[in-house]
């Protein structure tokens, strides 16, 4: 028996915060043969401890639905899931390269694979690119397009920016956009500086957040000088005669994230059967763009 646990933040204030975890879990439950697929939240029910108390599978894959390595993945989750032997060095990560570490559960002899967060998986760049392609596919190939990867960032934890820089670097190397730049809400370069960061006539903005909420719907649009974001559609805005901007909500709501979650478990040794309509994003830019 194996179980997949999707560990997410959730919120006491915002109803949308837990939606991606629940939606992806439902999809994975329907389209894979994991014996059990369970969501667990820091701020909502069921919480991490409640899930821990009812896990019965002998092999458990815990996949953090977080954008970056940091406080939650390194301290809160291991503690709340009773991973007593957890040591950050077990991930052997440079801040974006955590794959998984394996432990034996306290008092249960259960094997627990604690995976790296969804947001730092290399195939996340493909999810971003695919999302941006929804806008760029219909544009003339001659148009100069920039891609802005928007993250939260905080000076309190350097890792929080690493994931954004990491994917920006990957996407830059693929030469599919004329410019690729990271922008942050709470670190430099800040979102409001977007005009100085890009020389293109269009910027496609993809927020690397797990869920839509105040940041993606109010804060970021406000910094960009565009209307609040309320729907699940791309919002085109003409900033001035020389610059157009396209904005969409949190990347975490993208259906492809379900595939990234499953891939995290596969990386740790899971061998689930997948239904045809559950695609695992691939790193090859040619196949993803077709």
């Amino acid at each position: 028996m194996n179980a997949l646990v999707i560990a997410a933040h959730g919120s006491l204030l915002h109803p949308a915060a837990s939606e991606p975890a629940r939606t992806h879990a439902r999809r994975i439950r329907e389209q894979t043969d994991f014996d059990e697929v369970q969501v667990a939240f820091w701020k909502e029910q069921p919480n991490f401890r409640e899930v821990l108390r009812t896990l019965t599978a002998d092999t458990v894959y815990i996949v953090p639905l977080f954008i970056s390595e940091g406080y939650f993945t390194e301290r809160v989750l291991p503690r709340e899931f009773d991973l007593d032997e957890w040591d950050i060095s077990d991930w052997n990560s440079d801040g974006t390269s955590a794959q998984y570490a394996t432990y034996t559960g306290t008092n249960t002899e259960r094997t627990i694979h604690y995976c790296g967060p969804v947001g730092t998986h290399p195939i996340m760049a493909s999810v971003v690119r695919k999302r941006a392609r929804l806008v760029t596919a219909s544009l003339p190939t001659t148009e100069s397009i920039g891609l802005a990867l928007i993250g939260h960032g905080t000076d309190r934890n350097p890792h929080s920016q690493n994931a954004i820089y990491y994917h920006a670097s990957t996407l830059r190397d693929q030469n599919l956009f004329k410019e690729v730049q990271p922008l942050f809400l709470d670190a430099n370069p800040r979102i409001a500086e977007f005009r100085t960061c890009f020389s293109t006539s269009r910027i496609v903005c993809v927020p690397l957040f797990i869920a839509d909420g105040y940041h993606t719907q109010e804060d970021i649009p406000n910094e960009l000088g565009i209307p609040s974001y309320t729907s699940d559609q791309w919002v085109p805005s003409q900033i001035d005669t020389s610059l157009k901007l396209n904005y969409n909500g949190a990347i975490g709501t993208n259906p492809d994230i379900a595939g990234v979650i499953v891939q995290r478990a596969i990386d740790a040794g899971a061998q689930p059967s997948l239904a045809e309509n559950l695609e695992i994003p691939v790193t090859d830019p040619v196949s993803i763009d077709q």
Binding site: K43, R53, T56
Partner: protein, 394 residues
């Protein structure tokens, strides 16, 4: 009589059966059978089939509980809805009698147990099959959290279940909005009737006016899990006294970052906090945790059936707020308390007491903050009562 159900039971008979009003003991290609008060000895295979065919309820009941791979919590919960109760291993009533039926012969999911080396045998007792079928034919209703679950019978012993808000128990079905997917139900449970976010499913503010079902048993389990996540599993483990509980101060000691200070909360303030957040008017769960394992909190645990096994995120958040606003001596009204009371009074006068978001403790009209202030004032009133009497006597 359903032929395939009789066939299935005849096949199983050679392995022996002891389940819910029927025992079959195979003996040299023959069978000793006991059904209710009737006993039959040395039955041939054909006679066994005839005897079983004359007890269609016993047969269809056995079939219902064996034709699906129920997990133990689901099976016990569904049988509990029919009036069955878990019998502890030491209970003398757990020995067979015609009034007691057993689940111990069921195909319990052997892996469904946190500690697999101590998987228990679970026996249940309660009304016999005939009595339950009669009750089910009229519909059996049980409350779970804020919903009522109706169980009833359809053909061949199959049970179906309908879920609605307990306030709608007597409402005509035609007056209720029909919900037909777990996704729709999950959206419904996230908002109150006036559209406010319910951060926890256990807050007693589930909106009414809907009905889900009738559905088969496995879908009922999904519905209950969407309404009250893991409630069946926690209830089941608590019934067997096997649930692990996280008490407050051990939970507090584990915290880090902005929640680290909550371990400094005094026992008196903790008592106010529990009254504010965990009373039946604030949460439908029954609190199993104490301040420490050996130190209970002097507040009723609640009448709910669903166990609360650890301080929740909202409680931790609330505690953080009170720790940062409470002085060392909690039995004093602080400037913050006075300002809070004045703000409430002014808001009531102005007719502006919007409680805002439940998880927002900066709002003076937050219901948990008001509950806390009330608990504190009652506490101070109590400890001041002797002084008041003393003063009055002078």
């Amino acid at each position: 009589m359903n032929e395939s159900q009789v066939n299935a039971l005849c096949v199983e008979a050679s392995n022996g059966i002891d389940f819910d009003g029927i025992t079959v003991v195979p003996k040299n290609s023959k069978f000793d059978v006991k059904i209710g008060h009737s006993t039959y000895e040395n039955l041939t295979g054909n006679r066994l089939r005839e005897v079983l065919s004359s007890h269609p309820r016993i047969v269809s009941n056995w079939d219902y509980w064996h034709s699906e791979p129920w997990t133990a919590p689901a099976a016990v919960f569904l049988r509990w809805l029919e009036g069955m109760r878990i019998t502890s291993e030491q209970d003398p009533d757990s020995t067979f009698s015609s009034n007691y039926s057993h689940v111990s012969g069921m195909e319990l999911d052997a892996t469904w147990w946190p500690d697999q080396s101590h998987q228990p045998t679970i026996a249940m007792h309660g009304p016999d099959v005939q009595t339950r079928y009669t009750a089910l034919s009229h519909g059996l209703t049980t409350k779970w959290g804020e919903v009522s679950i109706s169980a009833s019978l359809v053909q061949n012993g199959q049970r179906i279940y309908t879920v609605r808000h307990q306030d709608d128990q007597w409402a005509p079905t035609s007056a209720l909005c029909r919900i037909d997917s777990i996704e729709s139900l999950q959206s419904l449970v996230k908002k109150t009737a006036d559209g406010r976010y319910r951060p926890l499913n256990s807050i007693p503010s589930l909106q009414d006016g809907w009905i889900y079902g009738p559905v088969p048993g496995h879908e009922l389990i999904q519905i209950i899990d969407a309404l009250y996540p893991l409630s069946i599993q926690h209830w089941y483990l608590a019934q067997l006294d096997q649930i692990e509980v996280d008490h407050f101060y051990e939970t507090a000691e584990r915290q880090s970052g902005i929640y680290e200070p909550i371990e400094t909360i005094s026992k008196t303030s903790l008592q106010f906090a529990v009254r504010a957040c965990c009373s039946d008017s604030s949460c439908i769960k029954r609190r199993l945790w104490n301040s420490t394992k050996s130190s209970p909190i002097n507040v009723p645990r609640g009448d709910g059936k669903i166990p609360c096994i650890a301080p929740c995120a909202l409680f931790i958040e609330a505690t953080r707020f009170w720790v940062s606003n409470e002085p060392d001596e909690p039995a004093l009204l602080t400037d913050v308390d006075v300002a809070h009371a004045q703000a409430i009074a002014a808001a009531v006068q102005a007719g502006e007491t919007d409680s805002g978001r439940l998880g927002d403790f900066s709002n003076p009209y937050n219901p948990y903050r008001i509950n806390y202030l009330q608990a504190k004032i009652e506490y101070i009133t109590q400890i001041c009562a002797p002084l008041k009497e003393d003063y009055a006597s002078k």
